[in-house]
Symmetry: C2
Subunit: 231 residues, 2 copies
């Protein structure tokens, strides 16, 4: 059991190192040696988990959608909004997520790597949420969830890219707030609009909420209460 | 005069070749030799116009905004819509435009090349149009033109990228129609909505309109009428 936990941890360390190297250098210029040096693991350990650079890239791409995790909400449209802001906020600091986004966006990523996969994963996940929102009566009857989600995923991709090119993503929260301000009136039933929160700092607040919840959980798990503000 | 015309034509041939090579190979893998071979011009001619690979890339980036040319409209919001569809349609066939978009989007494009410049150019040009639209009473009073334009440019960038990754841009017109269907109710005064045309084939129709106008003009210029369907 301990050995298996170690293997999971090692795999994670390699993935994070690969994400950082892909983010900084792109697919073509990245070598296994660079990932090894960054991860500080043995060649054997790396090849055990990832037999090739291609498999590393595909695994980094597959991780992307996990960075959309947010607390479940009664209002599913708010949950979709929260996911976009959480990903936007995590993009500012998480190298594994950044590496995945670069691989998906850069045209130099070779055709053998399926760059469309993260787009499809996001679309599936968000469409399921919007369909729930529709069932709960949150959406205008004109909304087709899959179409609206494709627009959201495409727009998000370009907005983060433009924010990166112009301000190194410092204004991404503000740009997402503008996106939602333009889209929500075409998506939500009018009565829902005043209660939805899509302000620029939404991502900061959602991540803080997750941290607090995790602190409480780990304190419970250890049978003691962690002092406030430890993380 | 003839010599100057030839120089302009040569510069254009080189730019188009460079656009195609940047589009296919990206900045890092492109060499001056590849551009020379594609353009079929002498090394001297190329270096006369472009002293370095950097200057070639910057010139390709600067051309991008010219591909937004569309006929002037009385309704300026329709003109903005037309620009997005025209660029979307031209992206499917024009290598110079595609090369510029790849240079702006790829993270591998080095920091010495100003990737933000085409974003800023599009923003300036479209903001001027939306400000005119506001003066003419076409926009809701809540619209801030610069903010809405930044959203449009960012969303367009991501939508064309997703369309390229999933369908090699075959569904780009359809995706732009979805974008406008979601945005227009937050931008235009309600009375304008039924008259605006943002259907998926808008780009095809705008480019056909331009071709017809150019045919008529060149027929006039040559003092004769070209037979229909020549172009």
């Amino acid at each position: 059991m301990a050995r298996q936990e170690r293997a999971i941890r090692t795999r994670r360390v390699i993935l994070e190192a690969a994400g950082a190297v892909f983010d900084e250098h792109g697919y073509a210029s990245t070598t296994i040696a660079m990932v090894l040096e960054r991860a500080e693991v043995t060649k054997g350990a790396l090849y055990f988990h990832f037999p090739s650079k291609e498999s590393l890239a595909q695994a980094v791409l597959a991780e992307q959608v996990l960075f959309g995790s947010v607390p479940s909400r009664g209002c599913k449209l708010q949950e979709v909004i929260d996911m976009t802001f959480a990903v936007g906020q995590r993009l500012r600091s998480n190298a594994l997520l950044r590496g995945g986004v670069r691989l998906a966006v850069d045209q130099e990523t070779p055709a053998g790597i399926d760059r469309g996969e993260p787009f499809r994963q996001w679309s599936r996940r968000l469409t399921a949420l919007l369909e729930q929102a529709a069932e709960q009566g949150e959406l205008l009857p004109t909304v087709r969830p899959a179409e609206t989600v494709d627009l959201l995923v495409g727009s998000f991709t370009g907005i983060q890219l433009m924010s990166r090119a112009l301000t190194d993503r410092a204004d991404l929260g503000q740009r997402l707030a503008v996106l939602w301000a333009h889209m929500l009136p075409s998506i939500a039933v009018p009565g829902l609009l005043p209660g939805l929160d899509s302000r620029a700092d939404r991502g900061v607040r959602v991540l803080a909420e997750i941290e607090t919840a995790e602190d409480a959980e780990s304190a419970e798990g250890a049978g003691e209460r962690a002092p406030a503000g430890v993380r």
